[in-house]
Amino acid sequence: MKMTFLLVLTACLQASAGANAQKISLSEQNASLQSVLNKIERQSGYFFVYRNEWLKDANKVSFNIKDAPIKQALDACFSNQPLTYTIINKNIIIRQKPLPPPQTPAEESEVSRPPLTGSVTDSASGSPLEGVTIQVKGTATGTTTDAEGRFSLEVPDNAVLVISYLGYTQRQIRVNGKKVLSIALAPATTGLDQLVVVGYGTQKKKDIIGAVSIVNTDDLKSAPSSNVVAQLQGRAPGVTVSSSGDPGSSAIVRIRGFSSFGNNSPLYIIDGTPTTNVSSLNPEDIESMQVLKDASSASIYGARAANGVIIITTKHGKANKTTITFNSYVGVEQIPYSRIPKMLNTPELVQYLSQSSDDSYIDPVFGKKGSFTIPDMYVVSNAFRGGVSADDPRADPDLYTISDYYNIYQIFKTSQGTDWFRAMSQKSVIQSHELSASGGTDRSTYFLGLNYFNQDGVFKYTGYNRYSARMNAEFTLTSYLKIGENMQVSYGNRKGDPTINGETSAWANAYRSSPFVPVHDIKGGWGGSLIGGTAFGSNPVAQLYRRKDWTNKTLGAFGNIYAEVKFLKGLTGRASLGIDAASQTVFQPSRKQYEQAERQTYTQLTEGATSHFNWTWTNTLNYQKTINNQDINILLGTEAIKNTGRGISAFERGYDYETTNFLTLNTGLPQTLGDIGASNPVTGTSTLYSYFARADYAFKSKYLVNATFRRDGSSVFGADVRYGNFPSFGVGWVLSEENFMKDINWINELKLRGGWGEMGSISNVPGINQYSTFSSTPKNNFYDISGANTSTTQGYGVSTEGNEKTKWETTATTNIGIDALVYDHWNISVDVYRKNTKGLLVPSLRNGLEPLVSKPLINLGTMRNTGIDIQVGTQGKFTSDLKYDISLTFTHYKNELTKLNDQNTPLYLAAGRLNNVLLTTKGQPVSSFYGYVIDGFYNNQQDVDKGPTINDMPVQIGSWRFKDLDGDGNITPADETVLGSPHPDFQAGLNIGLTYKHFDFTTFLFWNYGNQIFNYTKFFTYMGVLNGGVAKGKLYDAWTPETASSAKTPRLGVGLDNGYTSFVTGNPNSFYVENGSYLRMKNLQIGYTFPQVIVSKLKFSNLRLYLQAENLFLITKYTGADPDMSLISGDGTDQSLGVDYSGYPHTKAFLAGINISF
């Protein structure tokens, strides 16, 4: 609505701008300048460009003209004003007249000087800057530049000019008697004086020693997403990101590899308050975002810093600058169907069946082998299941019933090939609307933002919406006391089936459903898996439909209040109290299913609620002093954090109605056995108490030294070991400031940095780790000792073994970096690092003779990450109208587990129904793929005789031959080996921005190279264990004696002719492991910014429209739906990475958006 209105308005105004008028007739007496200008605008068709506040001080005007040229009218208006004007085309630019020279002491004004003249330009583009303030330092003397960027000013020879302009770095220039000055201002975003938010404070960019990636938040926000971290992919070197395309789901972020194999999520600090979840944050509220990657920058966060720290600062108002912005986009998303693996249609399925069934096989739908036919209809009932012709009495629609779930009679039109993927998905709308206001006075500033985000899922009956409101304010109460707050309240709701991974997800069921089954029967009931060959796949559309009322609602408040006291000059104290509170409710009615082989015959409602309340109390004392050429900055602080949480979850079964309104936990039918249950997911309480300090020292801004120290105490460790110390230090050398570098013209700036430090990781230790505990759960500990049959007696069993000696994982990081600005506009930043984790928390392994208790984590392992982060940026212009801004990020890490445990026993994890798929062991990166290597086929009897055998069992012609790695002529577990790694060799992001006049063009390309993916979906589509859908490749690439040389998959057949032996279907092998490299155009955007003249006419300060395409193309050899898998974990730990359990495909999206500010 809002957007449409603005568009119409814009169109109307543009029309009026074209109106034809030249001569002006006016008669005015003591009229306000504003009103006169309005009249001139109307008569002339010219536009005025000015700032409102200037006109407030304008004098009244009186004149009388008739049919005069416009210049005469303007001269009349401005003759007695502190303002002047310039006509450019049809625009009239109004400027303030230069201020009159100030009263200066007689001694200094003895000699009248010719004025200093000069021009101010943008250092990057070279274009003139209008309105730049030029002031003589220490005086009120000053002026502003005109439209050509020129100025003139009378100044003493020894004056120092302060040149400032919003959005640019302030410069000070000594006049030194010069009469003409050419001044270039650098945009603040690239300026070295830019203040960067770092741990517990800010630092000038030029003084930073640590490895800090400053994320361009405009780029981040250019892509539509509810979650800003998903957009980090490729935007910051050293940061690897994977995300599923699921609405409302979070993204996986890893900074510089893996420092443990539990949780490696970074710590997020939003306005000083820590959190692990940023999904409720509105991306538009973000002012800046920094990624702290090494010890020099991050170890001030001590025990929580080892996985990197992402610091987010939200927007604040600026004094005397009121801005209202409206940002909005609407778009359509869809699944890239061309990427979906191809499945057999019904005629192909019949062909497949004739090759894979024995001669006596009778298919209930297609009939007897040898005369398979696809019937018009088929029937599913208790009495008869099978194919029939349309005129068969069993296909009589009157027999149809689904009212009794135990005794259904369904009649189907046999499908020639249902495309389950299309059937379950939809084009969906994504939209976001954001309105914010900011501003303030000298004593207070504010920022208010409202956001509505809505994303319908590309899977039917799913979606996510979120409302959020932010209120940030700061008040300067006295000269020494400032208070403020940052607060966001958000409400989000995920609707529909949240299962995005694994064999019971709707997407997996699309693979697992048979092509001849239609979505609906002849009367609209659901097609399902109660007949021939369909086994257990459930109709994915029905699954999504039955779960359409599922909700997962989160109401959260996040923010802090703070006070800042200036005790003495340079000594500031700050106290901040932050909260992170949220409550989440889950409502999941699970409805009866009649159409499934493993059907559910009751209605169940599961409801749950959890809440958490975390507070962080931070007190810091900061002392800043400049002595001669030495800058000293010292920070001392304490921090206390308490996280508390509690939850409940319950279900009930047996409802006589399935309507959502009826379903509550107490409206189920009178309870029968096993139909009600409750659990209490306690999340518990944990606390952290810390002291920390930082000292920065800079000599002549040339030699930089920094040291930090933090001591953390945590409740999750035993009393004797709960404190840990985390020091770091770093040095920096700005070479370009040295005399010997001054002659090298092509180097503008050059800084070498180095740092070492230790950081800890706490997120992998459950609070219970130090305690030996007993539990009392029905399944494990209860027994029907009295023979009651319907009830059990409570028992107590050991559930966890504690270890009081478990302590921090410590990661020592060494980082060496270089920052350079060369050839005036090439920014290059390179960091190389080594991270050694010691005391890696690994599960202590249960001895085979011990009872099955949860063993504690112990500090046994060591892990190493090495890597390089590169960022290159350049901006400039090809012609005066065509400008570019290009940046490239490159991320490489190498992860290696250097010790796992004393016995060197590897950790194996299953993937779905396959065992020992994932291996974590010494000498390999965490979570490597493991299994047998396919080494061709047994093509004939000689091959079979030659072997190898499999577990001493004979092998089949046409089956895969596996590599006999130990050469014993027999395939055993000893022949399993590492098949690949989910870790990419590198990831690179290329952002290209071009502007041509008012048009801008941005594209973002992301390249992921060198990892493998374990494509578990092939278990569904090839192995036949669960039946259902069959991949085209299983039929067309199958081994036959004729195609032996080109075949890719085993022979189709029965018994001894079946190449899919139980060994093939039951074990992981190299067939599943695929190349995971890909290149994706993630974003393409074309925008048009309306010229200032039009915008001002509309009383806007900015108006931009854009069109955008997301994920326009993808180049990859991966055969699954989407290769963005490398960090997606099957079980939530980082030991199970890179397995595609039927991943949610990233969608293509097309959007249109508008940005307006007032």
């Binding site: 069934s357 024995d358 135990y406 007949i531 021939g532 060959g533 369909t534 086994a535 005790f567 104290g573 493993e598 059907r599 015959t601 007190n619 304490t638 308490k642 029968t672 096993g674 009600i676 249950g677 306690v682 108490y689 409740s715 999750v716 009393a719 305690y771 030996s772 505990t773 007993f774 539990s775 759960t777 209860f782 027994y783 029907d784 000792i785 009295s786 023979g787 049959n789 319907t790 059990t792 409570q794 028992g795 107590y796 249960r846 001895n847 009872p851 208790v853 001493d952 069992m953 004979p954 577990p973 036949g1024 039946n1027 029965v1054 018994g1055 001894l1056 079946n1058 139980s1062 279907t1065 039951g1066």
Partner: protein, 592 residues
Amino acid sequence: MKNIHIKIIAICTSFCVLGVISCKKDFLDQAPQGVYAETELLNKQGIDGMLINAYAGLDGNVNAGLGSIGMSLGPDNWVYGSIAAGEAYKGGVNFGDQSELNTIMQWAVPPSNPEIEGKWNSLFDGIGRANQVLKDLPLVKDPGLSPKERTQIKAEARFIRAFQYFQAKEVFGNVPWVDETVTDYKIPNTDATGAYVNIWPNIEADLRFAYDSLDVVKDNVGRANKWAAAAYLAKAYLFQQKYDSAKKLFDIIISQGTNNQGQQYALLPNFKDNFRIATQNGPEAIFEVQMALDASGTNGFMDALLTYPNGIAGGTNSWFFRPSQDIVNSFRTDGNGLPMPDTYNNEDVTSFENIPDASPFTPYQGNLDPRLDWTVGRRGIPYLDWGMMTGVAFTAPPGESIQNGGPYCGKKQVFSMAEYKAGLATKVSWYFGSALNYVTMRYSDLLLMAAECEVEVGSMDQARAYVNKVRTRAANSPVKNLDGTANAANYKVGLYTTPWASKDAALKAVHFERKLELAEEGHRFFDLVRWGIADAFINDEYLPRARANRPSLFPSGVQFNKGKDEYMPIPIYTITQSEKDGKATIKQNPGY
């Protein structure tokens, strides 16, 4: 000046407040929630709860095995005792379903097989639960716990430990002994000379203590009593071929033994009553694992959950544990109603294989032992009270053929319609839970073990009397047709009326009777091994026919390897974890 005051106050305030927090030491002490500390349980209620926990370990339903439900881990040993003995095929949707079980069916189990690891873990978890009771019992100072109660708790815990160890001996053979005193679990299963340790004396000691200490009558039917301990002690003697000791004890039990409600041991009138909920824990029960359909739904007969047929309770199920043609043929009887241990396989009991459900089918017309039709579901015979067993509809997954599992389904572990309707069985999630107990030892089992001892060291006539007692009950247990008017098949069960000609003939008859009486109850493989005839039976009698019948399950090369396949391999994980100074303290079983 005023400002300076405020500043000083501000500084003091903020740092005092900080001081409060840092001084408050217990800020960093946060105890876990929702769990018990050991000290809270060192009292009468706590120690009995630990004993209940030890009983709860009997069903094998622990966090291990299939989908952490614990299928194939329980004492019913349908995989290790029955499938490995040729009583049944693995079944499942198809051959690939739970493929790890195939290697057990084919006697080619690698030490890395996760199923055996699950079984091992379940057993040693059970042993650990019993040890926890024994370890904590002396620490309980609760005056409410009388010395007598103390003894009962100790004796029950030792019985449970012996029970778990008995299974460990049967399945894995050479296991080390772990008791309540252990702190370092790296215990070898060999002695100083490298020979495997013999833990039978330890098992005997536990059972002897339980036999000597336990009361006869217990207040809960689920608890082991004196005679249950005696029966297992006698069985332990039998497994060591200590026939004399065994016979003496069996004699005492047969004359004096009662169940834990004080009822004299006796056979139930009808064979089927051993497999019905209403009649469980009766006078035939020596020890049963109690199953319950409690509110959690997880204490039912979990081991059976994948073995139910289609066609009952509206569910389609997973079709595992499918009776073999060999076991079905075994129930054929001759003109005298006697079994035919040498010739039972000369003719197959007819099955509906290759006959569609819609086509007419005549069940086998020859003489049969009615126990067949309480053991195996076959077409044309009523399936408990669920109606007629109709063929593929009961035995094949939708759209699958019966190639993999064969034309039969099991019965002994399956709940009846009446039980289902009474709420003693229900669909819990995707699976059924039922309150049907698993009977680990019943009186007929004991009589047949006693008969073995009589043949070996006593009176063959007494042995024959025991066998005839079991057969008499069998003869009185016909399955009726649907309307209850007549027997469902030609049942003919006769008694051994003439003395057995030789010890060999007597043993053959006793062994075969055991096969029939306990078919599909998870005992036979251990019996075959104990009798030393596992290779002869499997390789010569069973496999050739099974291979012809179901070629895809038993390709050439599948065979029983004498000297190796008597026991499962010790799981590779156990061996790796036993390493001490780089050397494994657990020695793998021979042949692996």
